[in-house]
Subunit: 175 residues, 6 copies
């Protein structure tokens, strides 16, 4: 299959934080954001594969800053790497500044993995990714390490075989 | 503060998978489950701390088996360990067998972390956890390793300082 | 069919009262609670019968105390008695105390009746109930009286034939 | 306060049964209908009292016929009687015939009771009802009997004091 | 086909403005009202045609007055004219006065057009309309002019052929 | 105020058509799309003005092609012209081709108008628009004619004063 660029899979979601999306501090609930991120990244994975896609896993996600009710939240998702039938997707979450035009701050970053399947739910091959920008290349490189970590945590790979990941604990540059 | 048991924080959610919760294969969408898991674990963290709690992070989550429309899904969440103002919560997700009474299969397992805050959103101390069962003790032990992994991935700890985690790559028993 | 205990059908739902669930006093709307109680009791009836179940009737329900926005509400439903193809289900509704750990107050109690049906919607037999606790036995006993009342109110039984119910008006102990 | 007619409180809701409103037989779930009936009757009670109203109780409700997905459901609610600060409301539920113009069949009938309250939630007086049609007069008459039944079932009245209701068990005409 | 009156298609929807329906000024969002108007008018078109109906177009709609959270909104929709397989529907939107019984003010007026289709989505004929009241006759008369305007704006009619509409720019009475 | 480009206001929404968004032919309901278009255009108007914005009117909208369940729908909204305190916004609606990567077809085009208001709901000035592309310039030019049409239809302008609009009926080029 012919490689595609991450940009071809770019999916953008814009949401306004409504009352029912908020917790008792009137800030966006984590669960709602996780749900939106799943939709944004599923669309990106679909755009890359043109197949039905199902969520396979979610990487470590951190919620660093509260997002208040009424905020405009933009999610941008792009496939960062493809492995046989699975796709890793990066989601960047932005919150709009209420005053300064065009200004926005990054609220969050997350990584979801999807598998492309046929109508019976069996895995099916997807095109490889050809990263273009510096950031896309970095994310592409890191994908293998994250895949190993996920396999180890899931008990499907022995730590000593995770060569990419081991480097993390001996060599800062590999990061 | 006096320690509490994980059992005191147990929160149970039961959901029926409705049409709008499903993808094009008529199976539960990952994003909806992530949302339900956030609610279940937020309630567990609230029960432990009796404070407003906000989602701090989600650990690596895997989706191993499809859950079909109409299924009855039960989420059970319990605080596994508390650190100053943060609480790690384990969520076990069960799907009910449609035939055999009382039988159910585990569909999923996830770990969310919450921070207890006051009305202004500032972190506030929570009671420690005193695990009781074998599984609770295992989860309690693993929490420190997971915390270190999360700090490294977030760039807040140097890999060489993560003594608990490093063991993972040299010594299988530490797992 | 072999009898089952009420406990085998126990279904637990936990909900947080969100803004859209509330009336102009910021308290939970009755209609939303009736909806939640229907889901909780339908799951209990399904657990008992392992069949598709449809709501047949709702008994007199009282709303005694307001439940405020942000409250954690727990619904516990158990089949109290089975008649051929119908099942009476008791739902106890609890509201969590925001301060004291483990403490909760009863907000509500309701009784729904379900019928088990096959794929064409025809009634189908269900196992009998074998009550265990004192409360389960009381509820089991009262079910016949409630069934008679329901039949009379629906014009399907003559009052003079409702022997169980008549006792209510002559003999306090029968209550 | 000056009496009002039931007609002045008439509230009409029309709903289309959507996929998420249905059970596994593709029929309207009882809980959803209970929710819609609460909204319809709350609006009727509000129109009568021009006050904030809260659901006080729901009478015995029966679900006799399935309502299929895609159906158009019309709910008509009218205050049947007022007692100091409470109002009994009848809700008639109609399902539209898909072929014959103007034809519809009655799917359901339910009775909800509301209390009018001030901003602090304290009960407040409402105008009396002056029934006009034959059906309105019948429903007005029956309201007292239903109120007694509700009080007895709630343990707030002794059966021997329920003179209206006792008649039900000796004299068919009183029904 | 035998003509029907607008009244036979009358559809009434009543909604309470909930928190999630509102913008940052706590007033009903335009988009939610557009959605409700679509449902109300689709039901009216269905009542007239007894067919599946799909939205074909929305005329110019103005939002003149804010509708605050907690308001009771009533939508009344009636078919104003039928052309072969299409139906023009008028929707009047009323907001209830919170004090004075029976009083309400008109908040909005909109015109939607629907096409009746068979199971494959092909257009199918509908009965003509026989207007009765003065307002119904006015709306019936104006429908042709609006249809021409819509065809011109959609590039499907030459302005010089729109005889009804041209009159608008030369002769006030034609309006 | 300094002029801004339409591009600075660009807002993109991506939605998957879920079961509850569809009519009885399993196609997207018009009302849901109208709702999504309102959100997309409100965000564009907010990005242009950095103010609270309220929907003022919706222009003639046509629904030309059915959008099936499961489709990925992308809405792109940009301010086309600003008048004192009001902004006209164009929304282009695209449906993704399920096979060919990057291909999509235009399903719809709509025009909404918003007014920027302060915290009390009073109109407030917004920056002018400086169109850049050929399409943006065309839409900018047409805005005045549409404004006149809207004023006439709303009875706020005499047809003979609508110089821009009159041209439409005499001179094809003016279109």
């Amino acid at each position: 299959m012919k490689a595609k660029t991450p940009k071809e899979s770019l999916s953008i979601l814009t949401e306004i934080v409504l009352p029912n999306d908020t917790n008792n501090l009137n800030n966006l609930m984590g669960g709602r954001l996780l749900h939106w991120m799943d939709i944004a990244s599923a669309i990106a994975a679909h755009r890359h594969s043109k197949r039905i896609v199902v969520t396979a896993s979610v990487n470590n996600v951190s919620f660093n800053q509260p997002i208040s009710q009424g905020s405009i939240v933009t999610l941008e998702a792009k496939v960062s790497r493809a492995f046989t039938s699975s796709m890793e997707v990066f989601i960047d979450v932005w919150v709009e500044d209420n005053q300064e035009p065009g200004k926005r701050t990054k609220a969050n970053e997350a990584i979801y993995t999807f598998v492309a399947v046929d109508q019976l739910g069996n895995p099916i091959n997807v095109p490889p990714i050809a990263p273009e920008t510096h950031e896309e290349k970095q994310r592409y490189e890191g994908a293998l390490r994250r895949k190993q970590l996920s396999l180890i945590l899931g008990g499907k790979m022995k730590p000593e075989d995770a060569t990419e990941l081991r480097a993390l604990f001996f060599n800062e540059e590999a990061k």
